[in-house]
């Protein structure tokens, strides 16, 4: 049994990572819920956000500007991809949608590799994130990691308010329940699809910006994150916003706490948890019956 301080510190770290994962997964899940397809390029979009943070933080040292740049780049990318390519795939089988976003993800990753190389880029945390927090002398924690929870939670709250307290959000949620019906009610589904795809992509981009100072920024960085987000939505229930948040924190904690006990099993544990959910509750913790 590891010391309590280690467990507490790991639990905290798991929570910080979990909120980020929740932000990433909520983007994935609302895109799936509305457009009906799994965005395989979500990991690459996360990576784009991290590179935006790298560029902007290196040249301006303004965190706000980095967040804005991450969101803006993804907004533009989402607009171009949805209007230019993905909208032609709404009528095609789900496998084709998966394949085309997979191909796009490879293009994005390799495009970035061409310009920045495969070397890892270092991004330093903002000046107000420098320092160490002393948690009652039990454990110490880097300040930025504490702030990450707040920043990610703020974006999740914004997403929640957008989805549950605006008329646009009501349409989006109605679209998740029954896409055809929303179209029949005279709501412009095409514009709604574009909006949701952009919002989902921006969630991934913002998560990438927040994550950049915590890790090495490399072209492939989004792939493991994407697969973890898949685990999150399978556990939480694909298409469920609440499921993405609960699942994200659950997976973050699992990764982190298992590390305290035996790091060899930290990655293994989340896939075992997913297997368990698949056996006991195939539609996920919060998934609706008959959605898939």
């Amino acid at each position: 049994m590891p010391p309590t301080a280690v467990i507490l510190s790991q639990a905290f770290s798991g929570f910080a990572f979990g909120t980020l994962l929740a932000l990433m997964s909520s983007g994935l899940t609302i895109i799936f819920g509305t457009l009906g397809f799994v965005n395989f390029a979500h990991g690459a979009m996360f990576m784009l956000g991290a590179y935006a943070a790298f560029l902007v933080l290196t040249y301006t040292h303004s965190y706000i500007a980095a967040l804005a740049a991450g969101a803006l780049i993804l907004l533009v990318a989402a607009f171009v991809l949805e209007r230019g390519l993905l909208r032609f795939f709404y009528v095609r089988p789900p496998e084709d949608q998966l394949l085309v976003t997979f191909g796009l993800s490879v293009m994005l990753i390799e495009g970035i590799r061409y310009f920045f190389g495969s070397d890892s880029q270092r991004v330093s945390p903002p000046s107000w994130g420098d320092g160490i927090v002393n948690f009652w002398g039990i454990f110490y924690y880097p300040l930025y990691r504490v702030e990450v929870i707040g920043i990610a939670a703020a974006f999740l709250l914004a997403l929640y308010l957008l989805l549950y307290h605006t008329s646009v959000g009501l349409m989006v949620r109605a679209g998740i329940e029954d896409r055809l019906m929303v179209g029949l009610l005279g709501i412009d589904v095409r514009r709604m699809f574009l909006l949701v795809f952009a919002v989902g992509a921006m969630a991934a981009g913002v998560a990438g910006v927040i994550f950049a100072p915590l890790s090495a920024v490399i072209p492939d960085m989004g792939t493991p994150f994407l697969i973890q987000a898949f685990v999150v939505v399978v556990i939480g229930g694909l298409g469920s916003f609440g499921g993405a948040i609960v699942g994200g924190i659950l997976v973050g904690e699992l990764l982190s706490l298992t590390t305290a006990f035996n790091p060899d099993y930290s990655q293994v544990s989340i896939y075992l948890a997913m297997t368990l959910v698949l056996i006991l509750r195939p539609r996920g913790l919060f998934g609706a019956v008959g959605r898939i």
Binding site: F32, F37, V38, L85, F88, P94, E95, D96, L98, L99, V100, F102, G103, L104, V106, M107, E110, G111, R113, Y114, T223, P224, I227, F230, V231, V233, V234, L238, P263, D264, Y265, Q267, V268, Y271, L272, M274, T275, L278, I279, P282, I292
Partner: protein
Amino acid sequence: MSASVVARRGSRWLPEIIVVLLLVGLPFGFVAAFDTVDLLSRILVWGLFGIGFDLLFGYSGLLSFGQAAFFGTGGFMTAYLLTSHTLTNVWLAMLAGVVAAMLLGVLVGYLALRRVGLYFAMITLAFAQLSYFVEDSPLAHWTGGENGLPGVPPPTIEIGPLTFSFGSGWRTYALIATLFFLGYVLARFIVRSPVGAVLAGIRQNADRTAALGHSVPGYKLAVFVLAAAYAGLAGVLLGIFQSYMPPGAFSVDTSGQLVFQTVIGGVGTLLGPTVGAAVWLFLRDELQQIPGVGSLWMFILGAIFVLLVTLLRKGLYGTVAVWWQSHAVARVAATRSEPRPRAAVRPHPGAAQPTPPSAAGAAATPVLEARSVSKNFGGVHAVSKVSLTVPTGEIYAVIGPNGAGKTTFLRLLSGEMVPTGGRVLLRGHDITGQSVTAVNREGIAKSYQINQLFNDLTSRQNLRIAALGRHRGTLRFDVFRAADSIPEVEESIAGVIDELGLAAIADLPVATLPYGEKRRIELGLALATLPSVLLLDEPLAGLSPGERQDVIRLIRRLAKGRTIVLVEHDMDAVFALAARIMVMHLGRPLAEGTPAEIRRDAEVRRAYLGGLKAHVHA
């Protein structure tokens, strides 16, 4: 006649012959161009990996993003057994690698196949990651973790005093090419076999395939494990070819590369993935040489991939194959002046009619019986306490306004839904709660309100999927006979084609047919399973008046020796056909009786027929 038979026999083996010639001839070209045959060996390893994946994705429609799990497991099992000297016989270790991959395939398949479509893809990807991390950390002591396992020995053959090792270059190529060829031949057998026909059915409409008496979960698991075996063998060969087993075999990039190559080459072609592998490896090796462009080779591949997915979904090989085939067909049609197939013949009495398995029995024996069957969805009572008893040879109609629960009631009888209460009996034997597949095996078939066809296949192939269920059982691996070589099956199909007058359109793809013809094939699918009970859900919906008369006559004919339960809104047809009628309203039976009794029933008039008076001519 005999000449065309010979020609057909010849073309049966033509692809195999071409592949052998290429496998023998191509290496000389490669040696001339690259001084080594190794590039071709590597292409064939990936090609073999791809044949299995194509059976899974191209032929059965199951897109797995986790084939790396089996590729890695096969390779590492063999590499470990050999480098640790647990086994000294390399052939045995290779077999053990394939078996290990298959066992993992059973486990992953059991879990992942519980879901379909996107979920299936994501779950297989996650399991591949799981196996990657298991190899990397918990098993690092045995697998070398991130270093992999170097020193995998090649297999040898001893002939008398001579030892022949498949060590390197040409010899490894000979081993890989031989196994590739065997893998290709097996896959060709499977695709042409009844199993292949059922897999095509699953790809296009899994629910209907299950309703036609095939064990969809069984076939899916079988093809998943088979793909795992191909992946495992490819992994084993990679280790032997490189004398080193890299941990990257397990990585998500491996699964991704396989998907890439298969889609670029062509899905559903068996050889497409090999073409894709050639494109991939060639671009990787050749573009790298060009300064400035070299580092963009993956980007270029990605762009090609996106372009092909968007515009040429059949891939490079697939597009060429389709073009070649259509030209070949045109050429054959031009040279051969065979008489056109007979026009539709009206069935004459006594024509080869599908005979139900137990048509005997007095007319009064109840065949189908429902005892107070109910279905609730939460608090909604869609069907509550509905009973019926139908003897052989009777047409029993269920009518009622929209939302009365008629279709749900039929679904309870067909096994598509499990009733919340009550029992369904067939010839006195309780079938409540049995799956739709099992119920079909018992002799109940349903034709659907909305056509449930296999759109890419011809009418004949559609009917074949239905007839195969009756003659082969729910799950069978008869891969070494052709799907169209079973006399009883072909006889059933001919009978249905004759009965429904489909001869003229029998060999056209269903997707190209007009609605009325599709509707007849929908009925034909149910008939081809040779049911003793036929459930018809609005068989006349959407038909023209002329077509309606045809189908009404047909239903009357079909009732001989069969039991028919009919749900229909066309009151003229119902009152003309049915011996007895049940009126349903709000999920409950409102009245039951002969057409005359129903017409007189005051309550029925008030609730239902009153509003439709114009349609009921006495």
